[in-house]
């Protein structure tokens, strides 16, 4: 058996650097903390280049089939690392303004990234769980880092307890699968389920528990209750983290567990996903309308987007998976921009977390109002923004596979959803600003946020490349 570590060089590098930074940071004064930040960003850039260098062309199993290396995983990892990089760019000023600019934050972020990458590449129930827990524990800590804020502590507590319940259920589901098949390896499980004809009860039982764990991670209804509270309570930079990169990892986990591990149970999980998808789209879009806190609003918006991406997965076709993956990546890009805008408008002692804080943004800064316009239109799914193509591709696949009624439900609900995105645009352009404080930013933030918006517009006009990348990595 070969012992080739090269394909997981990015993960090894990331782990090593995380440890080194943890040590280095301990010896730094608060004034020179920027060094940690730079090291962290350097690490992410290094990981990105390693990922790029080791980009696989086909599916290979390594380390006794514990880990799978394939184009889909590599592409998702690239986007995860890039997303985390941007999150950190957006976070820096925000954290500094709140005396919160600590090495731990970034190291936890790096470890969470490592967890996500592990989830993406796992081909074994235990490795999946390992990655998931590494991610979740890091996130709990990040939410709780603002110790003095009762809101943040409450959010962390809820997140932790509910997360623990979900983890427990996931683990229980895994143990049932192990009990029935006698293996933790996804390929073996797939084989065993396929051979078993007739009584699928045990598998169905295990699948339900797995699905609860997955749905919790995604924040799909009815396992979404934590989402709005955590999004609102956590510091905005952490919310941004939670709402973007982990969705990419969760998508990978979904693909590994359901498509690679339980293809024989397709009929069952398709229907579970239908329920999750419809409920998520409905609850997300409808309840977002009455939110006055923009972080909560974006939380419900996330829930609705999750509904859409599940719509792509439940078609159980290659195109559907590609569409769902495209949707997830696009969602991550839009989420970054959306929370980035909140960070931009916040400053020391002020959180721009209410919808009304966006009033009159056009008067204060036409450029950022324009970026926000792009983001909101994209989330609403208006052409020529990227979000339109994401919605279009999943809806088209749903129609092609005969889920016409689901597609109709999706379209109607996204029309309802357009209301709260358009409301923000209305406030930005047609209302007087509530406060006239100048917007303070740093050049890196300005460049990153502008690029974020323009990429959504630009890729929206030429969506072919990204779409082909998704199709290519799935097929």
């Amino acid at each position: 058996m070969s012992f080739n570590l090269l394909p997981i060089a990015p993960e090894i590098f990331l782990l090593t650097m995380a440890c080194i930074i943890l040590l280095v940071d301990a010896y730094l004064s608060d004034e020179s903390r920027d060094l940690s930040y730079q090291l962290v960003q350097g690490t992410l850039l290094g990981t990105t280049s390693l990922l790029w260098l080791t980009f696989p062309t086909q599916k290979t199993f390594i380390l006794s089939s514990l880990v799978v290396i394939d184009p889909m995983g590599a592409l998702l990892k690239l986007f995860i690392v890039a997303t985390v990089f941007v999150v950190f760019v957006y976070s820096r000023n925000y954290l500094k303004a709140r005396n919160f600019f600590k090495g731990e934050y970034f190291v936890l972020g790096l470890l969470a990234t490592l967890g996500m990458m592990t989830m993406v590449s796992a081909h074994n129930l235990l490795i999946i769980y390992l990655g998931l827990e590494l991610l979740s524990l890091s996130l709990y800590a990040m939410v709780a880092m603002h110790r003095d804020s009762s809101q943040a502590t409450e959010a962390a507590m809820k997140y932790f307890i509910l997360g623990a319940i979900a983890s427990g259920m996931l683990l229980y589901g895994m143990s049932i699968l192990y009990g029935v098949t006698g293996s933790l390896d996804l390929s073996v499980i797939a084989q065993k389920t396929a051979q078993l004809d007739g009584n699928k009860t045990f598998f169905a039982f295990g699948l339900v528990f797995l699905m609860v764990g997955l749905a919790f991670k995604f924040g799909a209804v009815p396992f979404h209750m934590w989402v709005p509270d955590v999004y609102q309570g956590a510091p905005t930079s952490v919310t941004m983290f939670i709402s973007t990169a982990p969705k990419l990892a969760a998508f990978a986990m979904l693909m590994r567990l359901l498509i690679e591990g339980l293809p024989a149970m397709q009929a069952e999980w398709q229907q579970m996903l239908v329920i999750l998808s419809v409920l998520s789209m409905a609850v997300g879009n409808i309840i977002a309308i009455v939110q006055s806190n923009i972080k909560r609003m974006l939380a419900y918006s996330t829930i609705s987007h999750v509904g859409f991406l599940l719509l792509g997965v439940l078609t159980a076709t290659q195109t559907g998976y590609a569409a769902a993956m495209f949707y997830t990546i696009v969602y991550a890009l839009m989420g970054l921009g959306g929370f980035g805008m909140i960070v931009l408008l916040s400053r020391a002692g002020f959180e721009a977390e209410n919808v009304v804080d966006f009033k009159g943004l056009n008067e204060r800064s036409p450029w950022y109002a324009f970026i926000m316009l792009i983001l909101m239109l994209s989330m609403a799914g208006v052409p020529p923004m990227l979000g339109f193509w994401a919605k279009l591709s999943v809806l088209m696949e749903a129609v092609h596979t005969g889920y016409l009624w689901l597609a109709l439900v999706g379209v109607i609900l996204s029309v309802i959803g357009a209301y709260y995105y358009l409301r923000i645009i209305w406030m930005m352009y047609f209302e007087k600003p509530l406060d006239n404080e100048p917007i303070v930013t740093t050049p890196d933030m300005q460049v990153a946020l502008s690029a974020n918006g323009l990429i959504i517009l630009g890729l929206g006009m030429f969506p072919q490349a990204l779409m082909m990348a998704c199709v290519g990595s799935i097929g």
């Binding site: 809820k158 307890i161 509910l162 339900v208 609860v212 209750m225 509270d229 009929a267 409808i286 309308i289």
Partner: protein, 661 residues
Amino acid sequence: MKTIYLTIVLAPLIGAIIAGLFDVSRRVAHTVTIAGVGISFFLSLYVFKYIVIDGGAIFNETLYTWLVAGNIRFEVGFLVDQLTATMLLVVTFVSWMVHFYTIGYMHDDKGYQRFFSYISLFTFSMLMLVMSNNYMQLFFGWEAVGLVSYLLIGFWFTRPTAIYANLKAFLVNRVGDFGFLLGIAAVLMYFNSLNYAEVFAQAEQHKNTLIQIIPGQDWSLMTVICILLFIGAMGKSAQFPLHVWLPDSMEGPTPISALIHAATMVTAGIFMVARMSPLFELSPTALAFVITIGAITALFMGLLGLVQNDIKRVVAYSTLSQLGYMVVALGASAYGVAIFHLMTHAFFKALLFLAAGSVIIAMHHEQDIRKMGGLSKYMPITYWTSLIGSLALIGFPGFAGFFSKDLIIEAAHHAHEAGHLGNAGTFAYYAVLSGVFITALYSFRMFFLVFHGKERMDHHTQHHLHETPAVVTVPLIMLAIPSIFAGMIAIEPMIYKDYFGHAISFEHSPFAHKHFVSLFEFMWHGVKQLPFFLAMAGLITAILLYWELSFIPPFFRQIPAILAKKLSIIHQIMLNKYGFDRFNDWFFAGGSRNVGSFLSSAGDATLIDGVFVNGSAKLVAWFAGTVRHVQTGLLYHYAFAMILGLAFFLGTFVLYGSKLI
């Protein structure tokens, strides 16, 4: 040849673009547009010689395919045959003359360049219309001339009356265009093509096709198509009851009245019906409809000319009446005669309008003929050319109008005799016959009031009276020439010979099997007929009533006033133009405003906005407001929700398997 045809169309367009879109001087504006139309005119002359005189090849080609939808092709293509060549010549010549005339007429106007741009654009549109070989392009030209007409009627857009008039013209034409468009749609539906040649080739097969628009009612397809197309012509050619816009269109500058509202655009309907003659020939019902409408227009609009006092409006009602004559000719299957009258009328009516414009310039934009008089000695050129125009209009033997009008009456007589149109033919015959008397009367009423008799203008105007400059008088003279000779030259080839080839339907024409002996014979025959005596009677009546000659007892001059008083009801009806305007304002304009405000308040505001839009929004908001309370913020509620979800999934999938959905 293709290049020549393209140049004919594009030269005016380029002129219009340069004059209109670039900030050019007045000099450049009129130079480029006159050059553009001039090029078109000379090339049209060449084309006329090539096709009509030398019998050159008829051009029918598609130049550009705009789009293909299913098996329907939308194309730009030219059909240049004898009919087109004739129209090209008339349009470019009159347009060119009007361009020159405009230099003088619009001399002091601020919108000089704009005006030139518009009239060149008009020429382009009209050429596109007459040269098209398919219905799509025909419709394009049709709408484009309508647009320019709208722009030009409202040229002086600060005048409320002008805006009222152009809106009216536009809306009335919409009514006609609606029919026209439906007609084209019917053609497309049953013939599956928009190309003239392809449609005409199939027309015979559909002669007896019946369709049901209202269930249980069988209608002939050809009748439906032809009447719908003719409704379009009624709008554009101002036929009763869609004539109401034409008198008001006189709000536009006079050169426009001459070019668009007398000589060319309004004749588009005549041209179109002649072009569609293979279709109209298949439906006697449609022809009866056509001839009736034409006859009503010819007679009743002429009557209104008797009571008008605005010099341009008199000519405008005369135009309406003459268009009616052309339509009568169409209805009598004498398409060649209609085109013949179209041509002669274009010359003499443009002449009359331009002469009226010349008078208006001299009178410092006074248009009321009651305030004129005795202008002949101040404006000899205008006087003589007006006389020629008027004589041509009333059909004085030898002048252009004599031949064409005589033929129309003969065609109507033939329709009356033949009886294939039923009573419509008889009605048309008597209508056009009495129209002759009326035409002579109102034409010379105006002529005498303007040029003879006492000078009724104020001193200041009288002091400044003088002949208009050469740019005005030269076009008058140029138009006077064909007003005299066009009839004599064209009558034999155009009417009695196979002039139009296959361009228009000829075999059913009343003149198809007759022979032309000689010009003199024709005239000699003409002066022995009733129409001539009627025209002379009209002329003599006008002399008695309006020419203040010393040997005519002054009593005669009282007659119009006495008649107006005695017959005050009729007089009032005529002054109110039979009440069409008032009826339209009340019924159509007021009615549609009421329907609109009802739909706006009940349909849009209450039902759509209130129930559907706001109602559904309120429902969603209420639902969201209710459901959000599920999100209590309490941890154990959240955990409970998760457990419930788990229990639901377990219950569904473990107990029932995958048979749920």
